[in-house]
């Protein structure tokens, strides 16, 4: 029974922690102290609930308890400050009285505080690692142990990272607020980057880590869905959610039984999760319905949606995908996007047109040591019947890849092209 209550208490905590901490940061103005106070309330619950049973409104109970502790903490602080004042020091800001504080708390919808917490956890003053850890901890409700497990690092490393992050926020006097309009888009993309990084950490996990990592995809999706409700008018938030839902729909299909990755076009579409696809398409519609220009996440989601809608690889709408890559390379020009565009253009308009796009990348320094460019060129040349050139490209790709299996595959394709050249 005590064990049962203990688990119920932890479940309440998992659901309520982000809201509790968010409200407390607003009250006390410090993430570290807010988390401590929330933890105190949890400890009180763990003591009291096994004796008295889980209250009917456990969320309200935790919030009331934490608030009282916060008010006590503020009173203590204020007494200290008053002493300082007697000594002639001036207060920079006139603090609110306790009743006023309570009024502020009652008036502010919790969702506003939650959104402020999102922006503070992903603040650019923090390193990327710190943003990820703090976001999962404060907003995902994960324990440091769970975060450490998911990222395959020792628990003390994560604990340290979180402590340091909280200190950095305090020292930099980072305000607890939603960024103003002029910096919102930049700050929002930092938030989306953190969520997508968590997702990819889970998504790109190898088969050996089968157990823990897909949970990160779920954590990222949950954070994304929460953010979509907090910021319903931001198309990129829905874009990211759509992208993650659709990518997650392929989790079961993307690895062979022996753990080798399977290319999208070769995946067994019967294994794609139709529920997540439906959700992804719905999220994409929400992004599109806002009527603003689509950003990089929404465009990537729109590309993923083209694949998701095709019942077979042959039914893929490559003309639309090529057009979406055009738009994507306008918004976020990069050699890798161009390379994908070359492939899409080749699928839509034939290998010669695709090759033109790929050839324009020949002098791109960042692709010099990347096996994918010669691989793509080899593929397109082969399809154009220029077998000898194709063989040379595949050989070049083979020398550039560091993956032994990949090299074998590329050598095989080179041999195939040479044979075709001799037969021709």
């Amino acid at each position: 029974m005590i064990d049962e209550t203990h688990r119920a208490t932890e479940a309440v905590w998992r659901i309520e922690a982000p809201k509790l901490i968010a409200a407390l940061v607003r009250l006390v103005g410090d993430v570290g102290l807010a988390e401590e106070l929330a933890q105190d309330a949890l400890v009180a619950a763990l003591e009291q609930w096994p004796r008295e049973g889980v209250p009917n409104k456990p969320a309200a109970w935790l919030m009331a308890t934490a608030k009282h502790r916060a008010i006590d903490a503020i009173r203590r602080q204020r007494r200290l400050q008053e002493k300082h004042e007697v000594l002639g020091r001036e207060l920079e800001v006139q603090p609110l009285g306790v009743p006023e504080l309570e009024a502020v708390l009652e008036d502010t919808p919790i969702s506003d505080d939650l959104l402020r917490l999102v922006f503070i956890a992903c603040h650019p003053v923090l390193s990327m690692d710190a943003r990820v850890a703090l976001t999962l901890r404060l907003l995902g409700g994960l324990t440091t142990d769970e975060i450490a497990h998911a990222f395959l690092v020792p628990e003390p490393t994560i604990a340290q990272r979180i402590v340091r992050a909280k200190r950095t926020l305090a020292e930099a006097h980072v305000p607890f607020e939603v960024p103003s309009t002029d910096e919102l888009s930049e700050r929002l993309s930092a938030v989306l980057e953190v969520i997508y990084l968590v997702f990819n950490e889970g998504y790109s996990a190898s088969a050996g880590d089968y157990w823990t990592r897909p949970a990160l995809c779920e954590d990222a999706l949950r954070l994304g869905r929460v953010l979509a409700e907090l910021m319903p008018n931001e198309p990129e938030v829905h874009g990211l959610v759509a992208l993650m839902e659709i990518q997650a729909s392929r989790l079961r299909a993307r690895l062979s039984p022996s753990g080798e990755p399977i290319l999208l076009l070769d995946q067994n579409r019967a294994l794609w999760d139709q529920l997540l696809i439906r959700r992804g398409l719905a999220a994409l519609r929400r992004a599109e319905r806002l009527g603003l220009a689509l950003g990089p996440y929404a465009l990537q989601a729109a590309i993923a949606a083209c694949h998701a809608r095709a019942r077979t690889a042959e039914e893929t709408d490559w003309v639309r995908i090529a057009a979406l890559y055009d738009a994507l390379s306008e918004v976020t020009p990069s050699p890798v996007v161009e390379l994908n565009r070359a492939m899409a253009v080749a699928m839509a308009y034939g290998p010669a047109t695709g090759l033109e796009v790929a050839d324009a990348l020949a002098s791109e320094p960042s692709l010099k040591t990347y096996y994918v460019l010669p691989n793509v060129r080899g593929d397109l040349l082969f399809r154009l019947g220029r077998f000898a050139e194709a063989a040379a490209e595949f050989e070049r790709a083979a020398t550039l890849t560091r993956n032994a299996r990949q090299r074998e595959v590329l050598r095989g394709r080179a041999a195939q092209a040479r044979n075709a050249a001799e037969d021709a």
């Binding site: 119920a8 309440v12 079961r252 019967a270 959700r279």
Partner: protein
């Protein structure tokens, strides 16, 4: 982890009585909470069993039985699909499910199978067989 939460039928739901405005309002509020927390993946209400049917299997024999069905409390009137961290979390969410009429009711929580649930018992060979099976099903479905 995914869970299915099944709402058990009642005399009213089986009689096709539509929920009151109050119940719909409360349920909408609850569903919004689930969506805001990012845990609700899907959910629907079901028509009464009088508009359903059962297929009974016995060897090669198939018998079709049209509704309604008698054992009201064993029937399902609706469901949610939730993604949560644990069964305990789903339990905590469902304790919060509104019941404005004060009527007797019940929801049942069941975890949805995932390939990961088989863990190490699912060897690579078994996994491969599973996948081949799914491929065949896919081909059949694809026609």
């Amino acid at each position: 982890m995914r869970f299915m939460v099944m709402v058990k039928a009642s005399a009213e739901s089986e009689a096709g009585v539509m929920p009151s405005e109050e119940l719909i309002t409360e349920m909408t509020r609850f569903n919004e909470e689930l969506v805001k927390a990012g845990v609700m993946l899907a959910g629907d209400g079901l028509h009464p069993s009088s508009r359903g049917a059962r297929i009974k299997f016995s060897g090669d024999k198939r018998t079709v039985v049209d509704g309604p069905f008698a054992e009201t409390k064993e029937l399902i009137a609706g469901y949610w699909i939730l993604q949560c961290k644990s069964l305990d979390e789903v339990k905590e969410w469902m304790r919060r499910c509104p019941n404005p009429t004060g009527a007797e009711g019940e929801v049942e929580i069941r975890q949805i199978f995932d390939q990961d649930d088989f863990g190490e018992a699912l060897t690579p060979e078994l996994r491969e067989r599973e996948q081949r099976m799914a491929e065949q099903i896919g081909q059949n479905r694809g026609g």
